[in-house]
Symmetry: C2
Subunit: 210 residues, 2 copies
């Protein structure tokens, strides 16, 4: 799998999109598709698709195109979806509850526990997962093999929560707090910065008006 190394983030960020479109094709019983057709659906050029996928191996066949099911499965493997990932979610406020309720298990995610500091929330269940007292986070991480921490706490608490998660051995952080976290190099982070997304849209709207 050496080929996987040094692949640009731009390519990596496009993989889930391929995966989503291929899943849709599979649902619609499409058996094969050319890079041109796939490109038209996704809005990429055929050559971009061929280039992207060549990073990971030899898919597709001249004159035939891609076998949809094979390519879907292969991209699933590349994405690492051949196993389940366990997560703890910290912060059961609005966003935290929405994430806990979202059906991410399709994507191989298992939220093993939810933590919050608010006594009113502790004990409540979201999709059969009980909200625990944040004071038990350290011991929970020590006793369970957790891959990922999902941070949904207010900005001022985010770094402290992140530090606990990293200390507890978590290797990935999905961060919804509007801060840039300081983390060791071997811990991966993916940010969802909603305010920044909104400000980008407002900029585009405003720019369009002028």
């Amino acid at each position: 799998m050496d080929k996987k190394k040094n692949i640009s983030m731009a390519v990596i960020k496009r993989l889930p999109k391929y995966y989503r479109y291929l899943k849709e094709l599979l649902k619609n019983d499409v058996e094969r598709i050319s890079s041109k057709e796939l490109g038209e659906k996704i809005g990429f050029t055929a050559s971009q698709i061929r280039q992207d996928l060549n990073n990971f191996g030899d898919f597709g066949q001249q004159g035939y195109g891609y076998n949809v099911k094979d390519l879907y499965n292969q991209i699933g493997l590349i994405l690492g979806l051949d196993r389940e990932y366990t997560a703890v979610l910290i912060g059961a406020g609005n966003i935290g509850q929405a994430i806990a309720n979202y059906r991410f298990n399709e994507n191989g995610l298992n939220i093993a526990a939810i933590f919050d500091a608010n006594p009113k929330l502790i004990g409540i269940k979201i999709r059969d997962v009980e909200i625990k007292d944040i004071d038990y986070l350290d011991s929970f991480l020590a006793e369970n093999n957790i891959d990922m921490g999902i941070i949904c706490v207010p900005r001022n608490n985010a770094q402290a929560v992140c530090d606990k998660l990293v200390k507890g051995g978590v290797k990935g952080i999905w961060n919804f707090a509007p801060v840039d976290l300081v983390i060791p190099e071997d811990v991966m982070v993916e940010n969802v910065h909603l305010s920044e997304s909104l400000l980008t849209l407002i900029y585009l709207l405003h720019d369009q008006e002028n």
Copy 2:
């Protein structure tokens, strides 16, 4: 304001980050900052910061750096935050409720109405905004000046909702549904694709393990 045209999306996406850091500096009573110091905080190089900001005008002064308050206000103007933007939110499920509850009004967003098709939700208020029957969306858009539509409906309904919003004169779409919407060129769209964000993190985690 001709200088603003043809600015790359990469630069545009960095503006909200500058804005967030400058706000933080302002809160901490920092009056001025050099591009080097600002760069160290944000994780960009000083020259990248100077380049980015030069797209929009002459900020900062050799040997003095940037006046934090001025730069904050200027970037606010560039982002279009000198006026309020009105939005309708469609789909009061988990994500929709979280977004409706989020305090985006700091960013100049006013959610004027929320719509859903579920009779159990219609009539409920979220932060004083009542959830209305989706059947009234068209007439609401006709009677009110709405800038933006926030789409939080399931994937299968997203395009139909988007078409209604566009027909109703909305000029920006903030899309949380896991689909790529087909929209006219003069309507701006910003996607928050949570599953794709998660899959990116899973890829990075998986890649790290190998």
